[in-house]
């Protein structure tokens, strides 16, 4: 490894792998290292099942769990928005051809004491118990406005008098359509996918764009706006790692990272044991630079192994349930996601549910109780509380560009925003998708 590179990337989590791929595609000479023997870091899917049990200090799973090789368990639960940023990145970079996706069967929202399906078509909307008859009418008018909204076309703003996307708050828009608080809760949390209510007093344009993303994603496949890759989320970093390798990136796993070498306040290399690889830039996740990040919060996540689907979801083999903060007197939402053997992540007949939220108290596990209660009997539960780190600076000074920890959101939109921001800070340019050349085998793209 005693060579000179343009960039050294540390850690093979999803963000680092996307960045590595983008840098290699842009013609940079990239060395990509991980201290672990496997790809994916925190975004890996754990297989076989005994590795997951070992990780949590438990004895090997009993035989009822089936073939342990059939399990690929994510540590961080997320879905892809069908029309979202990550799917765009996957398509533009051609990484789609390394992966197979399934559409998530349904999206549910918690209201009062039970869950209701987020309607995916007209028929479901008509019979939905989320709103009364008159409220449905008002909500329909609001949706027509959201659907037609374009932030650069004042003609599309007319339905709400005096509206403009920056100075009008979302509260004002909801008030104009006279929506009740349950509908607002449902719209802000299950459609716009906000984790708290701060958005209500912020510019309405952003919220309307999020609602459009939801509806455009839903329009793609009809059942829900979400996609999930076969064999688990760990396939995503691997796909981007392959992209990076195809464009010349060098991969080294199982490499202890002992020092990031700086001279005059700028990075000049990375030392592993007695070897030092030279470079002009380093890109890494927070775990490689504990003294250059700050803790800004915590996420609690419970991985639950079930031998049955979740009640009241029509036995869906995959689903998402959002518990809006207000429904359970919290400040941030609780997310429940469910995938199963049909996604090649569990042995036949098994399901993996994940319950997660941003930590607000000293007893994180108690905070996710409303989500755990929806699951029914749980065969095995693994709870983690993970700190969320942010870099102390933007990296342009010392040329060390650090990603943020994966947050509690249920999808990859913030993940992609962080990646694109890091790429912009590191290269001074927005990523140029046209740099992805057409190679042999591109015929299906």
């Amino acid at each position: 490894m005693d060579e000179e590179y343009d960039c050294i990337v540390l850690g093979t989590g999803l963000k680092e792998c996307i960045i590595s791929g983008m840098l290699s595609v842009s013609g940079k000479k990239v060395l990509h290292m991980d201290r672990n023997k496997y790809y994916g870091g925190e975004s890996a899917s754990i297989t076989p099942l005994e590795d997951l049990f070992t990780k949590f200090g438990l004895p090997s799973p009993e035989e009822t769990y089936g073939r342990t090789r059939d399990w690929n368990v994510d540590l961080i639960p997320k879905f892809l928005m069908a029309n979202g940023q990550l799917v765009k990145l996957l398509i533009h970079t051609g990484v789609t051809r390394y992966l197979e996706f399934k559409s998530v069967e349904g999206s549910y929202v918690y209201k009062g004491t039970k869950i209701s399906k987020v309607p995916a078509d007209e028929k479901e909307a008509l019979t939905s118990d989320l709103m009364g008859m008159f409220e449905k009418r008002r909500f329909k008018n609001f949706l027509v406005f959201a659907q037609d909204f374009k932030d650069d076309d004042p003609g599309s703003w007319k339905a709400v008098p005096g509206f403009d996307p920056i100075n009008t708050t979302m509260n004002t828009v909801f008030a104009h359509y006279n929506l009740d608080k349950n509908t607002i809760d449902f719209t802000g949390h299950a459609l716009a996918l906000y984790r708290d209510d701060d958005y209500l007093t912020k510019p309405a344009g952003d919220t309307l764009k999020r609602i459009k993303l939801y509806s455009d994603s839903l329009a793609r496949y009809g059942k829900s706006p979400y996609l999930y890759p076969l064999y688990g989320l760990g396939e995503l970093p691997q796909g981007f790692a392959r992209l990076s390798a195809i464009y010349g990136g060098t991969y080294m796993l199982d490499k202890p990272i002992d020092e990031i070498v700086l001279e005059d306040g700028k990075v000049t290399g990375v030392r592993s044991g007695g070897e030092t690889a030279k470079c002009k830039q380093v890109y890494c996740d927070p775990s490689y630079v504990p003294d250059r990040v700050q803790k800004v919060g915590q996420v609690v996540r419970a991985i639950c192994l079930l031998d049955h689907p979740i009640s009241n979801t029509k036995d869906a083999l995959s689903t998402q349930i959002i518990i809006p903060q207000k429904q359970v007197n919290r400040n941030s939402d609780i997310y429940v996601s469910l995938v199963s053997y049909t996604h090649q992540v569990a042995a036949k007949g098994w399901f993996i549910a994940m319950v997660s939220t941003t930590v607000e108290t000293d007893n994180p596990e108690a905070e996710i109780a409303p989500g755990l209660n929806l699951l029914g009997p749980v065969k095995q539960k693994f709870v983690t509380v993970s700190p969320i780190y942010k870099p102390q600076d933007d990296g342009t000074g010392n040329q060390i560009f650090i990603s943020e920890s994966y947050d509690a959101t249920s999808h990859f939109e913030t993940t992609c925003l962080d990646v694109l921001s890091i790429y912009r800070r590191g290269t001074g340019d927005d990523f140029d998708f046209s740099k992805v050349k057409h190679n042999l085998g591109d015929e299906d793209m």
């Binding site: 398509i91 007209e122 839903l218 396939e235």
Partner: protein, 230 residues
């Protein structure tokens, strides 16, 4: 690339309809760095050979599809190269996923590249358990330097409990044996006498190729239509 669940429960007639399309079969190249996997890929894809064995020769190689005729059946082989990841690190497990065939490649003049194949075999049976496995001794043109004998290869197959479906000797430099190998692999994969697992994986493949992220399925949506009645 999107699997439609409802098709799994489709009727037989739907399945017959689906099988009219020529199915593509993912074949992966496995083996040590420098044995000529990318050269095999290049012979297969463009029938060319590059003498320089530097890193650059692997750059940009991803996968390539070609149609073979076996009797009255057509088979589309989709050959995948490693991308050079095995040079210092290991190959991602996702490389193996969905593979219907795997070619264990070694260099006939390099016994080490042959002796380590059991490691690669283990990866294949772990991550691509339905794949048919083939053995390919490359650099057959280096006649005088050949150190791995036919008996060695047969012994290896026996030790692997006959997991290996075919043995081939190729020279990417001259092109000898390459086309013959792929033709035979295509024949073996098109063989209809394979077990139920094969039939199922064929259906999976069909379904997988039937949907695509770019082919937007416009369905009656709760949100998009302005003409819905409540």
């Amino acid at each position: 690339m999107l699997i439609e669940d409802n098709k799994f429960t489709g009727t037989n007639s739907e399945r017959v309809m689906a099988s009219v399309k020529v199915p593509e079969q993912k074949i992966i190249l496995c083996g040590e760095y420098g044995v000529g996997k990318s050269s095999l890929f290049r012979r297969y894809a463009t029938n060319t050979f590059v003498t320089a064995t530097d890193r650059k020769s692997t750059l940009g190689l991803d996968h390539y599809e070609k149609v073979y005729c076996s009797g009255d059946k057509e088979v589309k082989l989709q050959l995948w190269d490693t991308g050079g990841m095995e040079r210092v690190a290991s190959i991602t497990s996702s490389y193996y996923k969905f593979a219907e065939g795997a070619i264990l490649v070694f260099a006939l003049d390099n016994p080490d590249s042959f002796n380590i194949l059991s490691q690669h075999l283990l990866d294949i049976v772990t991550y691509a358990e339905n794949a048919k496995i083939f053995l390919c001794g490359n650099k057959y043109d280096l006649k005088s330097q050949i150190q791995v004998t036919d008996a060695d290869m047969e012994n290896f197959c026996e030790q692997c409990h006959n997991l290996i479906s075919g043995i081939y000797k190729t020279s990417c430099k001259t092109g000898a044996g390459v086309e013959e190998m792929f033709t035979d692999i295509a024949r073996q994969l098109s063989d209809s006498n394979r077990g139920l697992l094969y039939v199922l994986s064929m259906e999976m493949r069909e379904l997988r190729s039937s949907g695509s992220m770019q082919n937007t399925v416009q369905s009656a949506s709760f949100f998009t239509a302005t003409h819905y009645a409540w």
